[in-house]
């Protein structure tokens, strides 16, 4: 059941994004985007900044304008679209009130306004959930964890830990609000009568890999709890009496996770191949890459688990690792749409690095040598981690104090 959830949530996101961003693409066109930011808050800047980053930055020139001037220019056919961020937008987000971004499209143009519309929707939602996930209580909890238990107290109180897990869970639930179109409504005006065109595959390339990685990260985290279950059932201790010992069991878990990742990767890539018209030639390599990356993520999570003092501790630690890594590593929100400095940091995370490489494989813009070297690196690191994990699992993890 849990597996369905980890795989399910991101997959649904991927499907939705697939649907709105649609299939085949043309060569990159270029558009001029007019932005009237009446709010000029952190949140509003984040929304508009989305257009200036990475892939999108190549598609749009963003120009800040006054509202009236912007409307006039769109009316005259100058510019792809006008975005009007209302005053109080950031505050409304913080207070969890509905708010509206206005998008005025140029009826004379086709593709560019459509891209602007979709990006805006996604960016607005992303800001929304980023705000919410890092909402006050969760932020406080994380700060408390980082700064340690209050003075005079040896460990975090059980109530605190319970509260923290509740926070994490609600944060995940809020992720689903991300899909709620009411949260931030993009009002469309002047919809052209023309039939909907197929948006380019850049969108798929932007969001599909992120979603797949998010799936993998949830999966890796979930699978990594397994050793605790084996310990609780006594099967881990029993395994230590068999000729292969705990090491064989850990090896089995790695093979099992590889099979899982490969299966999910195969399903995702087949879907993407059919839906987004990716080049089939690159998909096998992409599958190999994502399988290796998935197992590496699993190894990382396992390593954290075997250093946990209890199952709850292990879960807390892996979750505390999962969310920031996913966030900064571009699994929630593509690196290409982040500010450059953030994306640069993101690419230094194992998942962020593997994700960018995965994206280049899918797009066909990669060098075999680099991928091969990367794969070798993943394999070596994973083997080293596996060695570390089994050593820990059959000693301190299996019998603390002995």
């Amino acid at each position: 059941m849990a597996l369905l959830l980890w795989v399910g949530v991101p997959m649904v996101l991927a499907l939705l994004i697939g649907t709105i961003s649609g299939g085949k693409g043309d060569a990159k066109p270029r558009g001029r985007l007019l932005v009237a930011d009446l709010d000029d808050s952190l949140a509003s800047r984040a929304v508009t900044a989305a257009f200036a980053q990475g892939e999108l930055g190549k598609m749009f020139d963003v120009e800040t304008v006054e509202v009236a001037a912007g409307r006039a220019r769109i009316h005259d056919g100058d510019g792809s679209a006008l975005i009007v961020v209302p005053l109080g937008f950031g505050e409304a987000l913080l207070l969890d009130q509905p708010t509206t971004i206005e998008l005025v499209k140029n009826p004379a143009r086709k593709i560019m306004p459509r891209i602007a519309e979709e990006t805006l929707g996604l960016a607005a939602d992303a800001v929304f959930y980023a705000q919410r996930i890092a909402g006050d209580s969760l932020r406080n909890s994380i700060e408390a964890i980082v700064s340690g238990p209050p003075a005079g107290q040896k460990v975090m109180s059980a109530a605190f830990i319970a509260g923290f897990s509740v926070e994490i869970n609600t944060a995940i639930e809020r992720l689903s609000t991300y899909l709620d179109p009411l949260a931030i409504e993009v009002v469309k005006e002047a919809e052209p009568a023309a039939a909907a065109e197929s948006p380019p595959k850049n969108f798929a390339l932007l969001f599909f890999p992120s979603m797949l990685f998010l799936t993998l990260m949830f999966m890796a985290q979930g699978l990594s709890e397994d050793l605790w279950r084996e310990k609780a059932m006594g099967t881990l201790a029993r395994a230590s009496g068999t000729p292969g010992g705990v090491s064989a069991l850990v090896l089995g878990k790695f093979l099992c996770s590889a099979a899982f990742v490969a299966a999910i990767g195969a399903i995702g890539l087949t879907y993407a191949g059919l839906r987004f018209d990716f080049d089939w030639r690159y998909l096998p390599l992409a599958l190999i890459w994502i399988t290796l990356a998935g197992v590496l993520l699993f190894a990382l999570m396992m390593l954290v688990q075997v250093h946990g003092k209890s199952q709850r501790g292990g879960d807390l630690l892996t979750n505390a690792l999962l969310f920031p890594l996913a966030m900064i590593g571009g699994a929630f929100f593509p690196l290409e749409m982040m500010p450059r400095w953030m994306a640069d940091i993101g690419r230094l995370t194992p998942n962020g690095w593997a994700l960018s490489e995965f994206r280049s494989i899918l797009s066909g813009e990669f060098s075999f040598a680099e991928v091969a070297l990367g794969a070798l690196g993943i394999i070596l690191v994973t083997l080293a981690l596996a060695w570390w994990i089994q050593g820990r699992a059959r000693t301190v993890f299996l019998r603390p104090g002995a």
């Binding site: 059932m233 006594g234 099967t235 201790a237 029993r238 395994a239 230590s240 009496g241 068999t242 000729p243 292969g244 010992g245 064989a248 299996l398 019998r399 104090g401 002995a402």
Partner: protein, 309 residues
């Protein structure tokens, strides 16, 4: 078949197993009898590789567990004290899993699993998940999972704890079947009756020390055919030795202000004279228990306390 010599194991400051040595022959059951926390599970853990022995050597079927752990493990089967089963799998799948862990495959594995299912009386429920089983059924399955690969040495850690009397009889029957086939069984228990009825040799363990070992006959002789007389009341320990001197063959096993335990031959016929002397020595006896010589009284004699406290 199973030899343990000078085994010592510490947990931090606690000496859980203290210089234990014994030899369990094949085709026989060696019982390790001791109260909670005596070090029974720790001893078994050191033998099967769950724990690293601090010092000492262990050989299983002639194989040193320290230098050739894989081969030693192949020769052993372990039934852990706590259940160790996959609750979501069926009985048959559990058997196949653990058989597989010992390198068994294919037809050989499947037929052995079916044979064991029949022997533990679960042949009619091979496809039920273990979580739907009763406690006794799980215990029997837990036991069978150690037998797949026909181990020459079988380590049983209190296999009958929490088992209803019927399942218990069935389990002990299974153990005897294995012994008949030449298996060497190490059986830990804190049930004195179990050790007396089941085991060929018994080692008595307390606080990590093996305080006596031998066949039942040898152990009884250690007690010198003397009965144990346990009394509670008010005593003056300082005056007792002097007061009881007229009875030359009486031994004071335990003596406190509230408890007194004596070991003496033919105690039942000599109660009046014992009480008369005790009264002179200022004792006020409120309750008396008389025990025939058995493992329990030997344990009391050796440690000064009851096996089950």
């Amino acid at each position: 078949m199973l030899t343990v010599s000078h085994l010592t194991k510490r947990y931090g400051d606690l000496l859980a197993v203290d210089d234990i040595s014994f030899n369990a022959p094949e085709g026989a059951i060696f019982g390790l009898l001791g109260p909670n926390g005596a070090g029974k599970s720790t001893t078994i853990g050191c033998i099967n590789g769950l724990l690293n022995p601090g010092s000492g050597t262990i050989t299983v079927a002639g194989i040193d567990t320290a230098t050739r752990p894989r081969d030693a493990k192949r020769a052993m089967g372990v039934v852990p004290q706590e259940l160790a089963l996959y609750e979501d799998l069926t009985a048959r799948e559990n058997l196949q899993y653990w058989g597989g862990a010992y390198g068994m495959r294919g037809v050989q594995l499947n037929s052995r699993a079916d044979e064991l299912l029949a022997r533990i009386g679960l042949a009619d429920r091979p496809r039920d998940q273990v979580k739907k089983f009763s406690g006794g059924m799980k215990r029997r399955l837990n036991f069978a999972c150690a037998l797949l690969h026909r181990p020459r040495v079988l380590l049983l850690d209190e296999p009958t704890v929490g088992v209803d009397p019927q399942s218990r009889v069935a389990l002990l029957e299974l153990v005897r079947d294995e012994v008949v086939q030449g298996t060497c069984v190490l059986y830990t228990t804190h049930y004195m009756e179990e050790a007396e009825t089941l085991c060929d040799r018994v080692g008595i363990i307390d606080r990590g020390k093996l305080i006596a070992q031998g066949t039942l006959g040898e152990l009884r002789r250690l007690l010198g055919e003397r009965d144990l007389l346990q009394m509670t009341g008010a005593f003056e320990p300082a005056r007792l030795a002097e007061g009881l001197r007229p009875l030359a063959d009486v031994e004071i096993v335990l003596s406190t202000a509230e408890h007194l335990t004596l070991a003496l031959p033919n105690a039942s016929q000599r109660l009046p004279s014992v009480f008369a002397l005790l009264q002179v020595a200022g004792a006020d006896v409120r309750e008396t228990t008389l025990k025939q010589p058995n493992l329990e009284s030997l344990f009391i004699k050796l440690t000064g306390k009851a096996l089950r406290e």
